[in-house]
Amino acid sequence: MTTQRWRGRSDGRRSPSSRVATGRLLAVLAALWLPLFCAHATPGSDGLEAALTQLTERSFATKAAAAEAIAESGDERALGLLRALLDGDLHFRASDGRIVFAERSGGGYRVRDALTGEALGEAGRREVRRIAINNQMRTQLRGLIAGLTLAHPDPQVRLAAVHEVMADPDDETLKRLRERLAGEPNGRVREALELALALADLEREDPAVRLAAIEGLAGSLEPAVRNHLVALLDEDPDPQVMAAAADALEGIAVRRQLNALAETLFFGLSLGSVLVLAAIGLAITFGVLGVINMAHGELIMLGAYTTYLVQQAMPGAIGWSLLVAVPAAFLVSGAFGVAIERLVIRFLYGRPLETLLATFGISLILQQLVRTVISAQNVVVENPAWMQGSLVINPGLSLTYNRIAILAFALVVFLGLVLILKRTALGLQVRAVSQNRAMARAMGVRSARVDALTFGLGAGVAGVAGVALSQLTNVGPNMGQAYIIDSFMVVVFGGVGNLWGTLVGGLTLGVANKLMEPWAGAVLAKVLVLVFIILFIQKRPRGLFPQRGRAAEA
């Protein structure tokens, strides 16, 4: 009885059983009739073949029934077929309705029979049609595949299968889960199996079993556990079970909160790392040279477009393209930077207003250049496979790989830059010129060359930032505009002319923004951060880490 009661509420994902039933009836009818017409039907695979034919129907309900029939056929090809259907690899030939695997080749498809694997040659784009599925079918297919892979040799696949059936297993599946547990060698899969069985035990009639199950589930962050416990809390007839469920939920709530906090911190650091990347080039041009470079955002954009062009040039190796793009973007943006410095800015040193206007003009020119040469539309920069998905630490906390990669990248770029300024001859000269230009020149430093190289360095770093940003956001002619304000904000907040200030400032602003976002909303959080900076600058006009000593006065 209890089982029934809870089953109904579980999560409404299953397709209505009546639909499946009619579909099944159709499948059976088709199975009875088809062999009469199909000469090439091999004995033993009738059910499978009939079900496959059903897939060409337009109605999703019929297709869902067919998928079910494929899974139940017991044929060893069923798993591969279901996976192909889920991945959208299953097609049918418009001419004879034959189910095929189709691979893109040139202007058409290379076709292979889905059952026999027999190569059927090439087909035009319009001759082969894909078997479309919808979300309900995707859910169903995942469930069916999970059912078929509970005993898969790969523990990762088994784990995924257990997770898939965990939320709402039927009696048949439960039986198989129990059998599985007895012989399961892998620890993580065992854990998941135990969890799934404990969840099922929550619905048993014996309160003692329910109590034991709650004990086993305490502390688990799996969403299904929490939902089942909440349900118990609402309607369990036994007060003892209710109390235990309340206790367990409290423990889960505390852990969930801790996880949420950790997650927010990570989000903040990740946003901060983006700010640092965007601002660090400016920290050099603005901080060291004192040039208000309004074209900084466009130098970032050029870096992002370089990534795009590199990916276009090496289409087969998206995974490696970023490694090529980083030095390429540094060179491209750096070259533009040197050119800007030589052609425009060097005539305007010491005239901040004119520099501002001139660089603003340059930013517009660069935007239009990209619009004219490439396109006014955004371009597609692909993410390499290793930057997709997330690192699951526990069911309540997972960190996305792309953000982890960019956080690490920001730190590497920062350290690299610090090393250049502290350890190389160019760094020494840059610091010398920025502290006392006249004295440096008297000592034999070619200040004009140093200026150009410094600006080129800042611009190049902006280009490198563009490579990272191309992985997070849209690459289009306007993308630089989104970062210019943030960059200035970070540099001014951190303290002009201090790289460490930029790092600490960027990360602080990122974390502050993300801490505020949950309760203030994205729009207000940004406003509050700006207000905070304005107030902060009133109090400490030179930022977090002001330059001290005589250099600061110059």
């Binding site: 309900q136 955004n378 849209n474 989104a482 993300k514």
Partner: protein, 431 residues
């Protein structure tokens, strides 16, 4: 030398201007001018340039058929550059200087609001092709895009009835269309018995790119046992990082489907759609609809634009319908006079591209079918649900307390864009 040059310049300019206006006046006798008011530069250029090309194609086609009333149509293209006040200036230029017979244009609601007073003052005709938030009906504007009851409400019905969704995230960009639409949707959901605790409303700035915490919040909101869906009025390219983040955080369409009102074929053609497969969009047209009329339209479009990979989308269909309605009305009225055309166009029917008909209603909206499509990995949509018949567009939402009693009817005796059926009075612009 210098002074003479200064005097000379305005003189030259004057002569050129005179020559131009003279040639314009001569030309007006033989052609009917059609204004095209779409941004060709700035942030909206991505979407609006396509519509300009669509209009040029439709006009060219009409001219090949012999034009209108025995005259050729002449397109007049201006560029309001995604700049809202400039929209009003350019509209004035089209109506006053170019004396166009009708204008096809605008995309964002704010641009429409900006030109509205100009069209009303100079009595021009504007055909507006984009889905919008409703709550408006002007004597001078014909809304060929969807009103909320032709897009948002049916989409929510689909999620509720077909997918069993019980918890709702209303996520949008922070401006007038999402805010009004979400207000209507929240009122509608509460009407259907959804509690406040099951509705989460979230706004983000234009071009938002850091979706981490919002997506994490949606994930948490959706992990509490009830089936959850996101209704997205997120605009423009902010959708790309949003969907990317959904994919990275492992939210598949089967777990938490996102139904979008501003994401169409054109927007998808700029992104890798593999992580988006299964997410939904509600429109009144999809390029993938297999209808002879649509196939022919796509073929003409590819030929006109010279690129077989270009997509078609919903606002293009709206222009197709609007343009055909206008030409039919002009033929019926026998003149391009705005008042005569506006009177003639009401009740006219033209075929749409999805196998049905579009009728111009007295409230200046049209009838449209509603289609729900799932995104495929090739950037196209597969229709998973559609209404049995065309839905008439409703100018004033029935779910907002302020507009419940209002209707728009531009036929006599009411002839009013916001007629209060309770007090029997017209509260705004009349004839």
């Amino acid at each position: 030398m210098r002074t003479r040059k200064l005097v000379k310049r305005p003189l030259i300019a004057l002569t050129i201007a005179l020559a131009f206006s003279l040639s314009g006046a001569l030309g007006a006798a033989e052609t009917i001018k059609v204004g095209i008011l779409h941004s060709l530069s700035g942030t909206m250029a991505i979407s609006e340039t396509t519509l300009k090309d669509t209009m040029l194609m439709l006009i060219e086609e009409q001219n090949e058929k012999g034009g209108l009333l025995g005259k050729k149509l002449e397109p007049v293209v201006v560029d309001p550059a995604s700049n809202w006040p400039l929209f009003a200036e350019k509209a004035r230029e089209l109506l006053e200087k170019e004396e166009v017979a009708a204008v096809f244009g605008c995309w964002t609601s704010v641009s429409r609001k900006s030109v509205l007073p100009v069209f009303e003052e100079l009595n021009g005709l504007l055909f507006y092709p984009v889905q919008y938030e409703g709550e408006e009906s002007s004597k001078n504007v014909f809304y060929t895009g969807a009103a909320p009851n032709q897009q948002a409400i049916p989409a929510v019905d689909y999620l509720m009835n077909e997918l069993g969704v019980e918890r709702w995230v209303l996520a949008g960009t922070d401006y007038v269309y999402p805010r009004t639409t979400n207000k209507i949707l929240a009122a509608y959901l509460k009407d259907k018995g959804v509690t406040d605790a099951d509705i989460m409303i979230n706004y983000t700035p234009f071009g938002h790119s850091d979706w981490q915490s919002i997506v994490a919040e949606i994930k948490r909101f959706g992990s509490e046992g009830k089936k959850t869906a996101v209704v997205s009025t997120i605009n423009g390219d902010a959708n790309v990082p949003f969907y990317k983040e959904l994919g990275n955080q492992g939210i598949a369409a089967e777990d938490i489907p996102v139904v979008a009102f501003s994401v169409g074929e054109e927007e998808l053609s700029g992104i890798d759609t593999k992580p988006l497969v299964g997410h939904l969009a509600a429109w009144n047209y999809f390029m993938s609809v297999y209808e002879p009329r649509n196939n022919a339209f796509i073929e003409t479009w590819h030929e006109f634009i010279g690129d077989p990979d270009r997509v078609t989308n919903d606002p293009m269909e709206a222009h197709y319908i609007g343009f055909n309605l206008w030409t039919k009305a002009v033929e019926k009225a026998g003149t391009t006079d705005p008042d005569a055309v506006a009177a003639a166009i009401i009740g006219l029917e033209v075929p749409n591209l999805t196998g049905g008909t579009a009728r111009m209603l007295p409230n200046h909206h049209i009838t449209k079918p509603v289609l729900i499509g799932e995104i495929q990995d090739d950037g196209q949509f597969v229709v998973v649900w559609q209404t049995d018949e065309e839905i008439p567009g409703d100018a004033w939402s029935d779910y907002l307390p302020g507009s419940k009693a209002l209707i728009a009817d531009w036929t006599p005796p009411i002839s009013c864009g916001n007629y209060n059926t309770e007090t029997k009075t017209c509260t705004g612009q009349t004839n």
